[in-house]
Amino acid sequence: MVSGLINANPVIYEKKERRARTAPSAPHDEKVDNCNTNIFLTFSNHIRDIKDPEHPYSLEELKVITEEAVEVDDQRNYVRVTFTPTVEHCSMATIIGLCLRVKLMRSLPLRYKVDIRVAPGSHATEAAVNKQLNDKERVAAALENPNLLDMVDECLAPSYD
């Protein structure tokens, strides 16, 4: 175990105001909700609330992810999330990436291909991290590690409240 925290004093940013979920205007109305809002919803309701592995703050508060960093192409079923670790050598980057992937895996329809990457220039071993995060087998293997899975579930827990 490393004794100290990797980033002991992170900068905390303000949370963005939540767009209030418009009350379902007419529940009997089978109109199709705009599909792009699907992803917006994913971001606003799910990703932003993921807890940082080492601090009691959400990823949004640490500006690890922002709303702009989520790119969605609904026609081509493609989602790309770019996140920015707080420090360059952050060894938590893989964990954060894993949390994002698991979260999206559980909340998005299967048709989406999810691409998760570290923002260019924000991490020392950018290529390695990106490779690791987008390797299906490695992710699957990681999720079979009970310790890791505990950690991921802990980070995801607040976003389901």
């Binding site: 089978e30 199709v32 990681a142 890791l148």
Partner: protein
């Protein structure tokens, strides 16, 4: 050697407790001087003291240790070796254990801790050791006052100087401190204790840190000290004053925002305490705390703080000795009153923290308070501020009369802020006047400055407010402008005239102004609505204070004008808005309501009379009637108005119905007829018995004289439905009559009831539903034979039942011969026979079943036995085509046994259960005086459900089973959960079958949803759990089919929520279903509705967690196994599906925790 002997003597004399204090001090100083000048090294002293420090005599040992400690205190500026310090620390900290020598140990520790770094200080680890030993052994509260003080000093010092190392002690430290402070009473010690808490808060500033979890405990200890109050008057020689202590406590309170949830409510509570000092303290503390905690945290208390400060201000500013020196807006001088000052400085603090807009608001509120507190303050404000504001607004005292037309405002934008302040000021002044109800004061007011000034400027103000609205009427009006304009007008209009007479012309001008908005500006919704609200406010004010003159103006200018609007077609104001204005204005007072009702009545009748010529008037009448039955009638009922109008209205409608002599056309069209019936029912329902008698007599005479029904013949001749071809007009009139019958009181006498019942039975077979409701209502309200001995003239319940169930209905033989397949008594049968389809006429049968269901409802509500027979008839309809399971009707059905019922008839019979069980709005409810037996639904449920279940299992034809399910669904959806839960085990399988049956037809979606709600209720109730666990598999299978039900979003959402609830069940039961659920839910992630997607994500998460939790358990046991059986590693890995790729393992290592 001489020195040594001298030293011994010194020591001896100090240790000897009998020597005097001064002597002791002198010897101590002598020894210290020796050590300080290096004449005696410290080591030598310790060696010399050896015996005293270790002797078993407690007194001497204590003195010895104290001597050493005091010497060290005195040589604090002498540099010492770190090794010496270390050993001294070791010595003293160990002595803390021994309570007899505790003072020396404390003094020694304190002296060491206080050493500065230049002369050699205690190391961090030593400090920790002292702290640990202190926390472990010291029982602070069992010591004497001086020792306690030492303890607190030591703690304080530790926190101050070694904050970084003591932080690591964590919980122990906080516990220790709490224990030490708890119940401390000495002021000096408390000063230190409060300071310790403050330092502690700085140690753990983190909002989710260690202190956060103890904040409540720490604060619980501090709380009793507030407000600081000395029970014994201080004689002056105590070193600590009350104020110092209070300040110290204040800094402890405000030390960390973590205390915020406890502090603020406490302070607010104490603000209302009767203790003077408590009030002042609370205000002070509030101010400091709000500045320390920050605006964000305080924001949520703003309202509470404001209201208590307001109370304080108005109480204490109104004291008689208070002399008011007024100043401009930005610097209002307040009297030398401590509470007032504190309250204001708190306000100032709050205001500074807020934005500019709120500043304006705050000033407005202060003006309001000042104006409303006393006459003199009100006068002062008016004298100084009001005229200034008027100047700024552009009218001064000198030209007050020249600008009375108000034109000057149209060009320039009236200053918002000033008008806002004006309003607040006026509102305060009004409150003042309203509040002083002593008649003696009334005379005074008229000659007060404020009133004089108000008089002088009232025209200008009116113009100003009016122009705000006028200016904004050209553009899109801004909300604040509307607020100011309307509110200003409203306030001006609501000054009490006997205290402060406002000119009649001004009042009328105001009303005209608002009315013009009502009539013209209906497109600007906000403006229109606020104007209407103001109008109503003025109206109810006028009523409340009995202002006869104003009431006259109001009635002529507002009420009558609005009534007039109803008849004017040329005005562009939409009719729905007219009706809204009408109802709102009517609700301002009883007299106004009467005028309005009169107007409404005339309008309705006028429209009714030209229904046939004018299509629009029918719509108008519907709107008016809706307004009458939904808004006005309930208001009259609530406010105790007379029922005269309701009676008159009902009679008028009846005479209108009688006048309509056109037999071929319907009396009125369907929508209007429904509206009239509703209004009629509600009117009749709200009357007393005598009025109801009057109405029903009147109605009966019209029914008998103006229709084609030959009432006299009905009873004598056999009933033959074919004979009466009911005209549409007659149908309308009999429906209207039925609606009267539905609403009457049980005691009301219905004329010729037997004839009417016959008539109703015939019309019922024609498919007139209201008539069936009336029959049900009659049966529900009639008295039964046993308790109606005194009134033999009336029909009893038993007789009525006899009429309904035993009256033979004849069919003209030509008709019957063709249809009836040769039954012996083919052309005479009773109602129940028709229900069973003996007449062989489908339409007739459906009408009969529908009618019977309402009759049954009437009986069910009063809990009559006959309902059982009726239920059996419905069931017979449902199951016919299969072998009859009911012995009772078996023989009567022999001839129809082979014949299969029409599906429509069966559906009607199934839906009859809906009529029986659901709460009806149109009849048989409390409003219409129905007799309702408590828990009738449960009773019906428990008697019918076993039969239905039995029939379902026995029924072989899928058709009849599906209709049995339908009936089942109706009964389930309307029964209370308690009854269902007790039978849950038997019901769940049927319920699930029923759910999957209902998915087949799109029209059943509402029924499906209702039933699903029942299921979800069972899942969430604790009592239902057992049955649910047993059937978990089939429930999940059923729900999985429902999660993509395309026709109703609520069904999908509820199904997914049910799945979430199911994930709480014991693991072993649901684990096998996991994959299936996850697969089904994953399609829902792509649902078209957002709410469904959201629920799907939640559901998936809960099921995933289960999934992994299970694998974890498996893995745990496997790992245990692996330890003993390494050989099987490979096999077991295969077992849990993990493939042994070398790559995978490498990456897994990378993912290992740091």
């Amino acid at each position: 050697m001489a020195e040594a002997t001298q030293l011994t003597r010194h020591i001896e004399s100090y240790v000897d407790s009998s020597s005097s204090l001064t002597h002791q001090a002198a010897t101590l100083n002598a020894i210290a001087a020796l050590v300080k000048t290096d004449a005696l090294p410290l080591q030598a002293l310790v060696r010399e003291l050896d015996m005293y420090l270790t002797t078993t005599d407690n007194v001497i040992r204590a003195r010895g240790i104290l001597l050493l400690a005091e010497v060290i205190t005195r040589i604090e500026s002498k540099p010492l070796d770190s090794a010496i310090i270390h050993s001294l620390v070791g010595f003293f900290k160990d002595r803390l254990v021994n309570w007899r020598a505790v003072r020396g140990a404390l003094v020694g520790c304190l002296a060491l801790i206080r050493r500065k770094s230049v002369v050699g200080m205690v190391t961090g680890s030593d400090a920790t050791a002292i702290a640990q030993s202190f926390l472990q052994y010291m029982q602070v509260q069992s010591l004497g006052q001086y020792d306690r003080k030492l303890c607190f000093e030591l703690l304080d010092c530790l926190l101050e100087r070694y904050s970084d190392v003591v932080t690591t002690l964590g919980e122990d430290l906080i516990y220790g401190i709490c224990e030490a402070i708890d119940a401390e009473k000495d002021p000096e010690c408390l000063m230190l204790a409060f300071h310790i808490v403050e330092s502690l808060a700085q140690l753990y500033p983190d909002s989710s840190g260690l202190l956060a979890s103890f904040a409540k405990d720490v604060f619980d200890i501090l709380e009793p000290y507030f407000p600081i109050h000395f029970t014994h008057p201080s004689s002056g020689d105590t070193p600590v004053q009350r104020d110092d202590l209070s300040k110290s406590l204040m800094s402890a309170f405000s030390s960390t925002p973590l205390f915020e949830p406890f502090v603020i409510p406490l302070l607010l509570e104490k603000l209302s305490s009767s203790l003077h000092s408590a009030k002042i303290d609370s205000l002070k503390y509030l101010r400091v705390c709000s500045s320390k905690y920050g605006a964000e945290k305080i924001a949520k208390y703003a309202r509470a703080i404001w209201s208590s400060v307001k109370d304080t201000l108005s109480t204490y500013l109104g004291e008689p000795k208070f002399s008011f020196t007024i100043a401009p807006v930005d610097g209002i001088g307040f009297p030398e009153n401590e509470i007032g000052i504190e309250a204001l400085s708190l306000l100032q603090q709050l205001i500074v923290q807020n934005s500019k807009k709120k500043k304006l608001h705050a000033i407005g509120r202060i003006l309001y308070i000042t104006a409303k507190s006393t006459i003199s303050s009100c006068n002062a404000v008016f004298e100084n501020l009001f005229s200034r504001m008027m100047d700024d607004l552009g009218f001064s005292v000198s030209n007050a009369d020249s600008f009375s037309n108000g034109d000057i405002f149209t060009s320039q934008r009236v200053k918002f802020g000033f008008l806002y302040l004006c309003i607040e000021l006026l509102a305060g002044c009004k409150e003042l006047i309203v509040g002083s109800d002593k008649p003696a004061l009334q005379y005074v007011f008229e000659h007060e400055t404020c009133c004089i000034m108000l008089h002088r400027f009232s025209t200008q103000l009116l113009n100003a407010f009016g122009s705000v609205l006028a200016v904004s009427a050209e553009r899109c009006p801004l909300d604040p402008d509307i607020y100011i304009g309307v509110k200003g007008l409203q306030i001006l209009a609501t000054f009490q005239s006997d205290v402060f007479p406002i000119q009649k012309s001004i009042f009328e001008n105001i009303l005209n102004k608002i009315m013009s908005i009502i009539m013209e500006d209906f497109e600007k919704t906000i403006l229109w609505e606020s104007a209407l609200k103001a109008l109503c406010h003025v109206g109810s004010f006028v009523q409340m204070f009995h202002e006869s003159e104003k009431a006259m103006s109001y009635r002529s200018l507002v009420v009558e004008k609005i009534v007039e609007l109803l008849s004017l077609d040329d005005i562009t104001l939409p009719f729905s808005l007219k009706v809204e204005a009408l109802s709102n204005v009517g609700m301002t007072g009883r007299k106004n309501m009467l005028t309005i009702l009169q107007g409404l009545g005339t309008a309705v009748l006028a429209n009714l009379s030209k229904v046939h010529r004018n299509v629009r008037s029918s719509e108008t009448a519907v709107q008016l009637l809706e307004c009458y039955s939904c808004k006005l009638l309930p208001w009259i009922h609530e406010n105790g108005g007379t029922e005269d109008f309701a009676v008159q209205f009902a009679l008028d409608i009846w005479s209108q119905a009688g006048n309509c002599m056109d037999f071929s056309a319907p009396f009125v069209e369907k929508g209007l007829l429904d509206a009239i019936m509703k209004a009629m029912k509600l009117s009749v329902g709200s009357c007393v018995v005598e009025s109801q008698n009057l109405i029903i007599q009147n109605a009966y005479s019209i029914l008998s004289s103006h229709t084609n029904f030959q009432l006299k013949e009905v009873e004598t001749l056999p009933l033959t439905p074919g004979k009466y071809d009911i005209s549409l007009r007659d149908e309308g009139i009999i429906s209207l009559f039925a609606s009267v019958v539905v609403a009457v009181h049980p005691k009301t006498h219905i004329p010729d009831i037997r004839v009417l019942m016959h008539l109703f039975i015939i019309t019922l077979l024609r498919g007139v539903v209201p008539v069936a409701q009336a029959l049900g209502s009659i049966l529900n309200k009639l008295v039964s034979t046993s308790n109606s001995a005194e009134n033999s003239g009336d029909l009893t319940l038993e007789e009525a039942l006899d009429v309904i169930f035993n009256t033979k209905i004849c069919f003209s033989s030509t008709d019957m011969l063709q249809r009836c397949n040769g039954t012996s008594n083919g052309n005479e049968m009773v109602l129940t026979d028709i229900c069973l389809g003996i007449a062989n006429d489908r339409l007739l049968q459906i009408n009969a079943i529908c009618g019977l269901s309402w009759i049954g409802k009437g009986l069910l509500l009063r809990g009559h036995e006959k309902i059982k027979d009726i239920t059996k008839i419905f069931m017979e309809c449902l199951i016919s085509g299969t072998k009859s399971a009911l012995p009772l009707i078996k023989d009567s059905l022999e001839n129809t046994e082979e014949q299969i019922q029409d599906p429509l008839v069966m559906k009607c019979a199934a839906d009859a259960f809906h009529v029986l069980m659901s709460d009806s709005e149109v009849c048989l409810n409390r409003k219409f005086h129905a007799t309702i037996r408590p828990l009738y639904k449960q009773r019906f449920f428990s008697s019918v459900m076993p039969i239905i279940l039995q029939l379902i299992t026995k029924s072989y034809s899928s058709l009849s089973r599906s209709f049995l399910y339908r009936a089942f669904a109706h009964i389930m959806s309307d029964t209370s959960m308690v009854a269902i839960l007790s039978e849950a085990k038997k019901l769940i399988p049927v319920l699930l079958d029923c759910l999957s049956m209902l998915t087949e037809d799109i029209q059943d979606k509402d029924m499906l949803y209702g039933l699903l709600l029942v299921l979800s209720g069972m899942l969430t109730e604790k009592n239902g759990q057992e049955a649910v666990i047993e059937n978990a598999h089939i429930i999940i299978n059923c729900l999985i089919k429902l999660v993509d039900y395309p026709h109703k979003m609520l069904v999908r959402e509820t199904a997914i929520q049910c799945l979430v609830a199911l994930s709480e069940l014991p693991h072993a039961r649901i684990y096998p279903m996991r994959t299936q659920v996850l697969r089904a839910i994953s399609t829902c992630l792509d649902d078209t509705k957002r709410a469904v997607r959201y629920e799907a994500v939640k559901c998936r998460q809960t099921w995933w967690v289960h999934n992994f939790f299970f694998i974890e358990c498996v893995q745990f046991y496997l790992v245990q196994l692996l330890l003993y059986l390494p050989i099987f590693t490979f096999l077991l890995d295969l077992l849990i599906g993990r493939q042994c790729h070398p790559e995978v393992f490498i990456s897994e290592v990378q993912y290992q925790l740091p």
